[in-house]
Amino acid sequence: MAFDAGLAVLVLGVASWTIAARDTFAAVVGFVAYGLLLALIWVRLAAPDVALTEAAIGSGLTGGLLLGASTRLRRTESLAVGEKPAAALRAATIGLCILVSAGLAAIILLLPEPAPTLAALAAANLVATGLGNPVTAVLMAYRAIDTLLEVVVLLLSLLGVWSLTPDHLWGSLPSPHYRADSYETVTFVTQLLAPIGILVGIHIFWIGSVAPGGEFQGATILAAMWILTMLSGLVDAPAVNRRWLRLLLIIGPVVFAAIGLAGFAMAGAFLAYPTNHAKLLILIIEVPVTLSVAAMLTLLVAGPPERSSHR
C-alpha cells in the first residue's frame, strides 16, 4: 500500500513536470519517465501484457518520436514565450480541469458492486483457442476483428504520414542519414545489442501464447532494433517505393483478412476458427502480422521521405 501510494505520487509529480517544464526536450524526457512509471503501475494492476506494451510503445517509441520532433522544432520555442495565455484564462482552465477530474473521480466511486467481468467467460473458452494467455486469446480469437482493424489503422496512418511527402521527394528515403564512422560507441553498442534484441523480440512474440507478451510487444522490440541500426548508420532507411518493403507492410493485414474470410467456409463466420486448428491458424496470422507491424512502427518513427540520395 505504501509502495502504491509512493508510485502514485511519483507518477503525478513526473506528469506535472511534463506539463510545467519550460524546455520541450525536458518535457519529453519527463514523458518517457511517465510511461515507464505507468508500466510499473500496470504490473501492480496485474496486467503484465499491458505493462510491456506501455513500456515499449507508450514510453519508448512515442518518446523517441517526440524527442526527434522536439529537436527539429527547438528554434521555434522562443516564439512561444509571448503566447502564454492570460492569467484569467489559465485560472478558468484550472477550474475546468478540476471539474473534469472530480467528475471522473465521482464515476469511480459510483462504479457498480460487484464489478462486472468477462474473466469467467474468457477462461471458459480458453481451451478452444489452444492458447494459455487470456489476453492473447482476446486479441487473436474473441476480438480478432479489433486487432485486424488496429493493424489496418497502423497502415492507414503510415499512408497518411507518407502522403505528406513533397512531390519531388516521392520515392526517396525517410529520416536523416547517420554516418556509422562518426558515432563509434553507438556503432559498437548496436552491433552488440541488435542480435540480442532481435532474439528477445522473437521470444516475447512466441511466449505470448502462454505468458505475458505477444505480437505487438515483440514487433515493437524488433522495430526498436531496426531503428537502432538506422540511428547508428549501420543500415540506411529503405526507399518508400521498394517492392519488398510494400510487400512486408501488407503481408500481415492480407494474411489476417484472408484467414478471416476463410472463416466463413471453415466455421461459418468472419474470423471464426475451426475448433481443432485454432492455434495453428492464429500462429499463421501472427507471424506475418508481427513482421508487418514491426515495419509499420519503424517507418512511422522514420517519418515521410525527405532526402533523395544515400548521402
Binding site: 506539463i19 494492476l45 521555434t76 512561444a80 471522473l104 468477462l118 482476446v138 479489433d146 497518411g160
Partner: protein, 113 residues
C-alpha cells in the same frame, strides 16, 4: 482504500493535468505531448476497471486489458501522424505554435475574412 482505487484517483488527476497542458500550451508539440498524457490517464482508468473485474484466478478482466493494448498501438499511430503533420506545417510556414486571436486579428497582412 485499495491499491486499485488509489490508482483510479491517480488516473483522474492525470486526465485533468493533461487537459490543462492541452489547453494552455501554445506550442503544438506540447499539445500532442499533453494529449498523450490524457491518453495515459484514460488507459489507466480502464486498467483499474479491469483490475476490479478480477475473478477465477485472473488478476484482472482480460477483455479491457486487451483493449488497452489495442488502444496504446492506435494512440501511437495517431501521435506519429500528428507529429508528421506538425513537421510539415513547420516546413511550409516556419511556425509550430498556435497564435492567440489578438495577434492574428490586428496588424496581419492576411486579408482573409
Amino acid at each position: 482504500m485499495s491499491g486499485a482505487m488509489l490508482y483510479g484517483f491517480c488516473s483522474t488527476v492525470l486526465v485533468g493535468l493533461g487537459l490543462y497542458g492541452l489547453i494552455v500550451h501554445p506550442e503544438l508539440l506540447r499539445k500532442i505531448l499533453a494529449f498523450n498524457l490524457v491518453g495515459g490517464g484514460v488507459f489507466l482508468l480502464f486498467g483499474v476497471i479491469a483490475r476490479r473485474g478480477a475473478a477465477i484466478g485472473f488478476g484482472g478482466d482480460p477483455v479491457p486489458q486487451a483493449l488497452v493494448i489495442t488502444g496504446l498501438v492506435v494512440a501511437f499511430a495517431a501521435t506519429a501522424l500528428a507529429v508528421a503533420l506538425l513537421l510539415r506545417l513547420f516546413q511550409e510556414t516556419g511556425r509550430a505554435i498556435l497564435q492567440s486571436d489578438k495577434l492574428t486579428d490586428a496588424p496581419s497582412d492576411n486579408s482573409q475574412p
